[in-house]
């Protein structure tokens, strides 16, 4: 296939795609990490940490989700477009939650 592929000259996103096969070993490490994190978050919930309880719980959840997204869902090995898509979803999600909460939180600031 020495002839130029017409699609190679489209976006770089077409060209750079080569199917990366993640080794099962990586999966095994990740699933181990996920299970350990689950145990950790359960343990953490039994410890009185005040405001840090939810923060720790969410931080661990975010970490776990990141592992799943990067490795199980192959985003680490994916094109920029996929990464951008994930980022875009996260961004809108945060806009929805953040901007709505902005109203609820600032309602308490004044007598309105």
């Amino acid at each position: 296939m020495s002839q130029p592929n017409p699609h190679a000259a489209r976006e770089p996103e077409h060209g750079e795609h080569e199917h990366h096969i993640v080794s099962p070993l990586v999966y095994l490490v990740i699933v181990g990490a996920l299970l350990v994190c689950t145990a950790l978050t359960v343990v953490a919930s039994f410890i009185e940490m005040g405001v840090f309880n939810p923060i720790v719980a969410i931080a661990i959840a975010v970490f776990k989700a990141t592992l799943v997204v990067l490795f199980f869902m192959h985003v680490k090995y994916s094109t920029k477009l996929t990464k951008l898509t994930v980022g875009c979803g996260l961004f809108t999600f945060i806009v929805l939650i953040g901007m709505t909460l902005a109203d609820y939180i600032s309602r308490a600031w004044g007598r309105w």
Binding site: S23, Y27, F46, N53, P54, V69, T85, T92
Partner: protein
């Protein structure tokens, strides 16, 4: 940007008439393009799913801030061990799914079938545990809208099993009624999640048969891959639901 030099291709005729694999749809130029496209479409679909759950998460955060004691008391009604077990089950099922994708990529038919069956069983297991949890809620009349009972919150001692562990103080009636809101969100969120699981399992059951027929181990892995994305996404939702619903202040009241 707009005045970049024109790229002119003289696509040779020979290239256009390469042999197409059977699974290549007519409107794609190459198999890679097709795989890329469907993969991207799947990601976009997952974006809509993120926003779909986003509405629920927003509601959850607001009411958790407003009615924190009710949320704590409601959360204590959930069985943390079932929840943890379910998290484990789902994570392992995600792992078997990922392995399934790997098997498909490396064209291991039997491995793929095994992985899909395992995923299927784990998925059912998750739903089974969820059913046990739900039935517990139904017994205690903790299903909002259906003879919802405040007893466990007005008088925690009446629920000795949970009281023993957490020594919850009784809630005022005005706060206790808000536990219904907690359970509304609990059922809405886990229910939506379970609905996604059911859809996933239904697709899986078809996939197992097709995988046995060798449909995914010929090099055309897009479908398995995309289903894997969906399955992992459902897993991620649970990864967040678990701490949000089960792990609100599990430490016993002093």
């Amino acid at each position: 940007m707009s005045d970049s030099p024109a790229i002119i291709h003289d696509a040779p005729e020979a290239d256009a008439h390469r042999a197409h694999p059977a699974w290549q749809r007519h409107h794609f130029e190459t198999v890679e393009q097709q795989a890329d496209t469907t993969n991207f479409a799947m990601w976009l679909f997952l974006l809509t799913e993120i926003m779909f759950f986003g509405g629920l998460f927003t509601a959850y955060l607001i009411f958790r801030n407003w009615y924190y004691p009710a949320f704590v008391a409601g959360s204590h009604q959930l069985n943390i061990w079932w929840g943890t077990a379910n998290t484990g089950v789902l994570i392992v099922s995600s792992f078997t799914m990922a392995m399934g994708v790997w098997c498909a990529e490396t064209r291991k038919k039997n491995g793929l079938v095994l992985c899909l069956i395992l995923t299927f069983i784990l998925g059912l297991g998750f739903l089974g545990i969820k059913t046990i949890e739900y039935s517990e809620k139904i017994e205690k009349h903790h299903v909002p809208g259906f003879h919802y009972s405040l007893q466990s919150f007005l008088d925690p001692a009446s629920d000795p099993k949970i009281y023993k562990e957490y020594h919850d103080k009784p809630l005022g009636r005005d706060m206790a009624v808000h536990t219904e809101l907690y359970f509304s969100l609990y059922f809405a969120m886990t229910g939506m999640h379970a609905l996604h699981m059911i859809i996933g399992i239904a697709i899986l059951s078809v996939m197992i048969f097709r995988a046995r027929a060798g449909a995914y181990t010929t090099g055309h892995v897009t479908f398995v891959e995309n289903f894997g994305l969906y399955w992992h996404f459902v897993d991620i939702v649970w990864i967040f639901l678990f701490p949000l619903l089960y792990l609100i202040s599990r430490h016993a009241n002093p």
